[in-house]
């Protein structure tokens, strides 16, 4: 019997040993697999890094037209803080005639620019001097760090801006340790004391009220595990935390934590890491945060949605103040700092100041990159994309569209929100897209009308009809008299086309330039029929029209569809004297390490002849002085010469204005998404917005100097014949050299012989 029991005991012990061995082996295999997972994740790129998109940097140089108020606004937009005495990068002090700016360092595509202290002298007309505030030496030109305007993250994706532990102020990791995991620097991944404390608290409460996760465990949870709550998962978490600690230093774990932690949600974009958190909530880099700002972010770790400072400011402030208390207890801030910090408001940047400010523009950037980069490159590789966006131009365009539409709705007794608008601003020489608005809700990525709303362009097509004619100087010039008579055309499909003037009146014969200035339809069709629809279409294509329209006479009056950005391309070619530059929103792309990947250099190609383009734009200047665009000069200074054209479509479904100065092209469209008539013309709907935009961005006026192959001659506009001082109402009109009218107008006939005698005498003396 005894022997039997001994035998049993042996069996049991053997079985136990076997079982334990098996468990140990099994556990080892389990651990090894976990270990492999951890190493794999930590070894390579730990995160998919969205591409970062930057605006064009503001350049400071003597002669830059930037007054004190504008400069202050620009600095504030960049998240620079005004201080009585600038201290540290990202701060400034400003008066009417001087600014002291402590600039941030930035790695530009063509080299690093260190932080510097600048003293900028200001006059009402602009910057007069830029000096290094330390050495006193003058600086010819300095770039400010460009604004981060967005990132290209995957759908439903995580967005982050990576930071290095060494670049992070000590207050953040130390504060996090104090708040989240006091024994972080002494434990091995899990804290027995913490678990006991949490268990006791939970026991007292009867349910789970307190987590016991160390920073390491939190990282593991975010990194490797699903959010489900189970004992099995908890076990895995503990094992992984121990393994992570075994492989990696505390600093590595802390750095990963700083970049991984979830700090908020912005639509379908998840804000991860303190680098992006600082931008998202305070619109400045992490290195520039103050104690109360750090405290807010540290407090958010516990529950970014529960403590969402934008939605629950009071709750967030209570949490922040509690964190500040801990900072004070830990000696991270002294009593005085604590007292002043809790008095401070949250100090959040407006949500629109955050990183996703210009969705419509970033949309354009993405499309331009599409052919060259895979989607994965853009969402994972942390590329740095330097764009052409001019925040000042963008602000003006947004402001005038969002403020202009309600005014128009009021005037036309429309329901608020009935109208939509879109706009584009580009540079003239180089074709850079400086601003883009895709709809009145400028902060929301939605239907991008500037790129995708292809609408009938109406009279915006006319300059291309006239330009086609003006390329035949032996046949047409600006003072050629055109008939304004009814036209009836039988189309190939037997339909009859009978265009009318906008006012349904006939105005008698018109000089060519006047027909364009007044946007008369009948003379335009008469002219178009003489040069042919195919030729007119060709001119449009040479200007940049890419659509596929049949060459039928109705295109003379703009029955062809184009998006605002395409119209901007066409008008930019006119503005640049026939030299087309394909519109571009990007200057450079580089890797996250700062290696240049691709440059988008200025491209120029002459597609239209300079002389005729000059004549056409001369007529477009008359649009602004005596034609349908003249109300612009109620807003723009009359000394600033601009050129442009109104566009109105059938039954007033679309209101357009497109035009340019010496340096800027702007296109405005106003209409309804449901294509219903709105009772607004190009002149009443789009021009007021256009004029204010051009005024706000401070355009340079056109230089009325004709090119070499153009001559000017005094002309009697009633007859289109050569005039002289004896003719009242004569105009100095440009002609292609050699094609100015030679026949003398009746009004000049009396003086003509005398004049030619004088000319003859002059010729003799030379």
């Amino acid at each position: 019997m005894k022997a039997f029991f001994i035998k049993i005991r042996y069996v049991v012990v053997a079985a136990l040993i076997l079982l334990i061995s098996a468990a140990v082996i099994g556990f080892s295999i389990y651990l090894t697999s976990l270990d492999k997972e951890i190493r794999a994740r930590f070894a390579g790129a730990r995160w998919a890094l969205p591409a970062q998109v930057y605006a064009a940097p503001l350049e400071l140089y003597p002669g830059q037209a930037l007054d004190s108020a504008t400069l202050k606004h620009e600095l504030e937009r960049l998240g620079y803080r005004e201080q009585p005495e600038p201290q540290g990068p990202g701060t400034f002090a400003i008066t009417k005639d001087q600014a002291l700016i402590y600039t941030r360092a930035f790695n530009f595509w063509d080299g690093a620019q260190p932080e510097s202290r600048l003293s900028v002298r200001l006059a009402p007309a602009g910057i007069t001097e830029v000096n290094d505030a330390v050495s006193g030496k003058s600086r010819d030109i300095v770039r400010l760090d460009p604004m981060l305007i967005g990132s290209i993250y995957p759908q439903q994706g995580e967005d982050r801006v990576l930071v290095k532990l060494t670049d992070v102020p000590q207050m953040l990791p130390r504060g996090l340790v104090a708040v989240e995991d006091r024994s972080f620097y002494s434990h091995y991944g899990v804290s027995i004391k913490g678990i006991m404390r949490a268990a006791f608290a939970n026991l007292m409460a009867g349910h789970a009220v307190e987590g016991a996760s160390t920073i390491t465990q939190q990282l593991v949870k975010n990194f490797f595990l699903t959010p489900e709550r189970s004992l099995k998962r908890k076990f895995k978490e503990v094992c992984m935390a121990l393994l992570l600690e075994a492989h990696y230093s505390k600093d590595e774990i802390m750095e990963a934590y700083l970049n991984e932690v979830h700090l908020g949600q912005d639509g379908n974009r998840a804000v991860h890491g303190f680098g992006l958190g600082a931008q998202f909530y305070f619109n400045k880099p992490l290195s520039e945060l103050h104690p109360h700002e750090f405290a807010l972010l540290v407090g958010l770790v516990k529950g970014p949605s529960y403590y969402n400072p934008r939605r629950n400011p009071e709750r967030a402030k209570a949490r922040r103040d509690l964190v500040l208390q801990i900072f004070n207890d830990e000696g991270l801030i002294d009593d005085a700092e604590y007292k002043s910090a809790v008095e401070l408001p949250l100090g959040l940047a407006g949500k629109s100041d955050g990183v996703a400010r210009y969705p419509a523009f970033v949309d354009l950037v993405k499309r331009q990159l599409k052919g060259q980069y895979q989607d994965n490159d853009l969402t994972n590789e942390g590329l740095r994309i330097f764009t052409t966006l001019d925040p000042r131009a963008q602000e003006a365009l947004e402001k005038q569209i969002t403020e202009g539409l309600p005014v128009l709705e009021g005037q036309r007794k429309m329901k608020a929100g009935a109208l939509q608008g879109a706009g584009v601003i580009t540079s003239v020489d180089g074709g850079e897209v400086l601003a883009l608005v895709g709809g009145r809700e400028t902060r929301y990525a939605g239907f991008n009308r500037a790129l995708d709303s292809r609408r009938s362009i109406g009279s915006l097509a006319k300059p291309f009809v006239y330009l086609t004619a003006l390329q035949q100087p032996q046949q047409f010039n600006l003072t050629t008299i055109l008939p304004d008579d009814p036209i009836s055309l039988t189309m190939p499909n037997k339909d009859v086309w009978e265009p009318h003037n906008y006012d349904r009146q006939n105005h008698g014969p018109q000089p060519l330039y006047m027909a364009l200035a007044q946007s008369y339809n009948l003379p335009t069709v008469a002219l178009g029929l003489r040069v042919g629809a195919t030729e007119v279409r060709k001119t449009m294509q040479l200007a940049g029209y890419s659509g596929n329209v049949l060459p039928v006479p109705s295109i003379f009056l703009g029955s062809l569809d184009a998006a605002p950005v395409e119209v901007a391309q066409m008008y930019a070619t006119l503005a640049a004297s026939g030299y087309q530059s394909p519109l571009s929103a990007i200057r450079e792309v580089e890797t996250k390490e700062g290696q240049p990947l691709s440059r988008f250099p200025i491209k120029v190609k002459q597609t239209l002849p300079e002389g005729p383009v000059y004549l056409a734009t001369w007529a477009m200047r008359q649009v602004m002085t005596l034609g349908t665009g003249r109300s612009a000069y109620n807003v723009i200074s009359p000394s600033t010469i601009v050129a442009g054209k109104t566009g109105t479509t059938d039954e007033m479904r679309d209101a357009w204005f497109a035009g340019f100065s010496a340096d800027r092209v702007a296109v405005i469209w106003v209409g309804r998404d449901d294509f219903r008539p709105m009772g607004l013309s190009g002149a009443t709907g789009a021009l007021p917005i256009w004029s204010k935009v051009m005024r706000d961005i401070g355009v340079r006026g056109l230089d009325p100097l004709p090119p070499a192959d153009v001559e000017e001659q005094l002309t009697d506009t009633a007859t289109g014949l050569k005039a002289d001082a004896g003719c009242t109402g004569a105009m100095l009109v440009p002609y292609i050299r050699g094609y100015a009218p030679t026949e003398t107008a009746p009004c000049a006939s009396i003086l003509a012989p005398v004049n030619s005698a004088v000319d003859w005498l002059k010729g003799m003396l030379q």
Binding site: D110, E129, I141, G430, I602, V604
Partner: protein, 211 residues
């Protein structure tokens, strides 16, 4: 016969190139003037250290003749030539000159993309500065972007307001681009433009070289 014309063209090309390079050299010897009214005269910094904007290759500089200094023998046609600025210094602000200098050192180091980047920055500040466009054209030429080199040179021509020094330089770029793209007829046409400019500039040089 055509052979000789070709040889002549090559010689002329070299001469033109020589004159071109001499231009920058010469300009740097002239004490620069403050170019912007806003630049205070007390600040000697602007432009003083301007390195030559032409090529650094040393070539015997042509001696300019100030109108009327030499003698009554100087042909009257000399006065017909307007007083065009010969280098960017005369028409550019300090910011643009600074960027031109950066572009020049990048070009010297063979970093043409870098140079083009600086020139584009300059053009954003002074979009009608035909010297900058002209330098950009030459930068494209060195980058072997012949298409762009020619287009940008044409653009510079169109805004140069008849400045023969710039036109001459631009036609040289156009000629070389056309040659590189195997367009001898186009290159010869560009050369003929250069010849015309050369003839216009000739009288000013003749009196000092009377042999």
């Amino acid at each position: 016969m055509t052979q000789w014309i070709k040889v002549g063209a090559v010689v002329l090309t070299l001469v033109v190139a020589g004159c071109q390079t001499a231009r920058g050299r010469h300009e740097s010897n002239v004490p620069p003037q403050p170019t912007q009214p806003s630049a205070p005269a007390s600040k000697p910094g602007y432009g003083v250290v301007t390195p030559p904007l032409g090529e650094p290759t040393p070539v015997a500089p042509t001696t300019p003749v100030a109108p009327g200094t030499d003698s009554v023998l100087a042909p009257p046609t000399e006065k017909v030539l307007p007083n065009f600025p010969k280098s960017a210094d005369a028409i550019s602000g300090p910011a643009v000159l600074s960027l031109l200098r950066s572009a020049q050192s990048a070009r010297a180091a063979g970093q043409y993309a870098q140079a083009a980047g600086s020139l584009e920055r300059a053009l954003r500040i002074e979009p009608r500065n035909y010297f900058v466009w002209s330098t950009l054209a030459d930068t494209y030429l060195r980058q072997k972007s012949y298409d762009q080199a020619e287009s940008v040179a044409q653009k510079s021509n169109s805004i140069a307001r008849g400045n023969v020094y710039v036109l001459q330089e631009n036609w040289r770029v156009i000629r070389d681009s056309r040659t590189a793209r195997n367009n001898p007829a186009g290159a010869a046409e560009a050369q003929s433009r250069i010849d015309v400019i050369q003839q216009m500039l000739q009288p000013a040089v003749l009196p000092v070289a009377p042999q």
